[in-house]
């Protein structure tokens, strides 16, 4: 297993946290790129890789935040990867719809966990305005990702539209 692609993914997480987060946030709804990357790795790679990647992605994602949340965030992300592995083994995730539901559920769980860790006031409000909407927004982006990965959207097809 070469670690270079995973280092690149971690750099992508850092890039998102430092630069792209403000750009990709619509009103107060953020794109949860780190959780999506963990779920994508879970879908396409083996369990150990996914769990360790989840751990490090959690560290990178939380490094800019309060130090007290660092361990919890890493643990939550690794747990997300573990749950993802269980789900992947037990369910058939070949179809695009199944993958999207998997991503939607995973992102929602992660957003919910982040809310619990950060002990935010107005929990229910944030469940709606952050956890659910953020999960839907990230799933839309995931849809594009899967379409491109499965070659349903290609440069030739896009060119053909115009």
């Amino acid at each position: 297993m070469t670690i270079i692609p995973y280092l690149i993914y971690l750099l992508l997480v850092a890039l998102h946290v430092v630069i792209l987060k403000d750009v990709t946030t619509i009103y107060t709804v953020p794109l949860n790129l780190s959780a999506f990357l963990v779920l994508a790795v879970t879908l396409y790679k083996d369990d150990m890789t996914a769990i360790w990647f989840g751990f490090f992605a959690g560290l990178v994602m939380a490094a800019g935040g309060p130090p007290s949340q660092l361990g919890w965030q890493a643990l939550v992300m690794a747990s997300l990867a573990l749950v993802g592995c269980y789900v992947r083994v037990r369910l058939n995730l070949d179809s695009l719809k199944a993958k999207l539901i998997f991503v939607l559920g995973g992102i929602f769980l992660h957003n919910l966990s982040v809310l619990i860790i950060s002990r935010t006031d107005g929990f229910l409000f944030y469940v709606v305005s952050y956890a659910i909407t953020g999960a839907i927004y990230t799933t839309v982006i995931a849809w594009f990702f899967f379409m491109i990965k499965e070659k349903r959207i290609t440069a030739a097809r896009v060119k053909a539209l115009f």
Partner: protein, 263 residues
């Protein structure tokens, strides 16, 4: 055999997750020193390059915006400077006019030049004073520098003036110091000249030339110009005298119609 493989891989997965849990709990309960080191290393390795990039880009954007703002300020300042310089020039000109006093027995009627005509040098001009302002034909026109010309036609609201630089214009003049007399003309090649001054007449460079008062149009003592060159040729009965006009005929703006004072 498959169930054994599944069991082993399940154990390995659980083992790895247990290690991760230990690490994470170590971070949670390890105190601020451990989390500080881990987050410091992570930030340095993963965040720092992007943070640097972001700051550089923001700085560049800031510099570009600052540059745009400064250019705008510079343009506004240049416009304001031009306006202030124009006001200063006008101020100087008006100060000169304020100190200017008419010849005895005359009053001044201020006029503004509306248009100037002439090919190489201006020969006539139109002013914004006419019959309504009691302007009459042959009234002299002056400014704070000296004699300009005379009124040649008058309309209701405007009047046309013939300038000293018109080649058909003639003016009886005298040298201020020696009181020698001659006729001021304008020739396109030589410029303004003093003609008909006898060769034995006393005249020097820089002597002032004034109107003589003869001829009935211009009162005596109005400044016409200063002597630039004097040539005395033995075969000719008159001196060749060229004059620098006192007034600048290329920048006529504020003029005065000289009217006789009638008590």
């Amino acid at each position: 055999m498959k169930w054994i493989s599944n069991l082993v891989s399940g154990y390995i997965r659980t083992f790895h997750f247990a290690v991760i849990c230990l690490l994470a709990l170590g971070l949670v309960f390890g105190g601020s020193q451990v989390t500080g080191v881990v987050s410091g290393v992570t930030v340095t390795v993963f965040y720092y390059p992007f943070s640097l990039l972001k700051n550089t880009v923001l700085n560049l954007v800031g510099v570009a915006e600052e540059n745009k703002r400064l250019q705008l300020t510079l343009r506004e300042a240049t416009l304001q400077l031009t306006r202030l310089q124009e006001i200063e020039r006008e101020n100087e000109r008006l100060h000169g006019i304020l100190n200017f006093e008419p010849p005895p027995g005359h009053i001044l009627l201020q006029a503004r030049v509306l248009s100037v005509s002439g090919t190489t040098t201006p020969v006539s001009a139109v002013i914004n004073r006419g019959e309504r302002d009691s302007v009459r034909i042959d009234m002299p026109i002056i400014n704070e520098q000296g004699l300009i010309g005379r009124v040649v036609s008058v309309f209701e609201n405007v009047a046309k003036i013939q300038l000293l630089t018109d080649p058909t214009h003639r003016l009886a003049a005298r040298v201020a110091t020696s009181r020698e007399m001659g006729i001021v003309k304008y020739r396109s090649r030589e410029g303004m000249i003093l003609d008909n001054l006898p060769i034995q007449g006393t005249i020097e460079i820089s002597d002032q030339i004034l109107s003589s008062g003869l001829g009935g149009i211009y009162p005596a003592g109005l400044v016409v110009g200063t002597v630039r060159t004097v040539e005395r040729l033995e075969e000719e009965p008159f001196c060749r005298v060229t004059i620098d006009p006192a007034a600048n005929f290329n920048s006529l703006e504020e003029l005065f119609v000289l009217r006789e004072h009638q008590p």
